[in-house]
Symmetry: C2
Subunit: 208 residues, 2 copies
């Protein structure tokens, strides 16, 4: 397969989100123009995004909603379920641990860890455990595929190295710092301050 | 100014985050190679990103850390403080309302709103109010510049239209749906499921 840019994968995910909603509303087919709006892009971009993965839709007839949902789920790897661990049970980590949307999309939170022993025993789906005591054993036993880091910036690289050493190959990082990982390990950083700064830039430079 | 891509602004924000940390560690100068690592990119890209905004650094000497921080803060619009309102006080909204990192970066949460009247009076910085009763009056009075939507997907477009009608020109959307806004209104969507799907794709297609 050609290298697929993150921005393409992101749009595929948005198309899927929109198609699922569209199907719930009872629609059978969708045009590339409607899909384009859902992804904040153009019809031509939709056709190009999908063309990486095969031939979809018929000219003038649009896409069959149910078929395209199945194709996108297969492309994105969502036919499997993905066990996820969350490291750091502060406000953001705890909120994510309880976010039901993950389950709907195929991601199962199988472990939540915090460095603070006083937090162990809190409910959080009954799976909050002490980071240093439990992490490596749990990774071996539960085989999570994705680790979500919800810890302070200065701790993030150390915990990334640790989960990578235990065999995890995908990390979602909420710490406000860029992390380095060996080749073959996918890392995505989501930072609320960065998102707000993108908006501050847009407000400050309305012509940019 | 030329149109600046979101991806460029995002990298500027990551450079800034890294430079602030680098300054705390007592460094005076930084090379484009070090900056590149912080943004997950190359030295050439760093130079190109900065070249949009003027001339920085000296060949062979790198960048003066303090000066570059000041320039990036000015470029990103962070010399001003930005009043922010949060709509939806569920788990994610409440976590964001209490996230101290916003204040550090110049964003002040001045109001938090929930549709559920039973939530009003909860602490949340003493500013949780009932959405329908308080929103328009508060926007007129507090003049927030950015609205953060932490509400279910089906409610998001309606609340976006509402804050835009009241004069807000920047929206950070956590609802799992793409939103449309009039020209001149900046909207960023952050979706946890999308981020996890990007990772699932990477794990499913290691060669892509």
């Amino acid at each position: 397969m050609k290298h697929i840019a993150d921005s393409t994968v992101r749009r595929l995910s948005l198309y899927l989100r929109f198609l699922e909603e569209f199907e719930r509303q009872g629609h059978d087919t969708i045009s590339s123009g409607e899909l384009a709006r859902s992804g904040g892009t153009t019809s031509a971009q939709v056709r190009k995004d999908l063309s990486f993965f095969g031939s979809f839709g018929k000219r003038g007839l649009g896409y069959a909603v149910t078929d395209l949902i199945a194709s996108l789920r297969r492309i994105l790897g969502l036919e499997a379920r993905w066990p996820v661990i969350i490291i750091g049970a502060g406000k953001i980590g705890a909120a994510l641990a309880q976010y039901r949307g993950f389950g709907v999309h195929g991601f199962d939170v199988v472990g939540v860890y915090d460095a603070d022993p006083a937090r162990v025993g809190e409910r959080l789906a009954g799976i909050l455990d002490q980071l240093d005591a439990a992490l490596e054993g749990d990774i071996a036993r539960l085989q999570p595929r994705i680790a979500v880091l919800c810890i302070p910036g200065e701790a993030a690289q150390g915990q990334l190295d640790r989960v990578v050493k235990s065999g995890i190959r995908a990390v979602l990082n909420f710490a406000p710092t860029a992390l380095t990982a060996p080749e073959g390990v996918a890392v995505r950083t989501v930072n609320m301050a960065t998102e707000l700064e993108v908006l501050a830039f847009a407000l400050t430079n309305p012509e940019a």
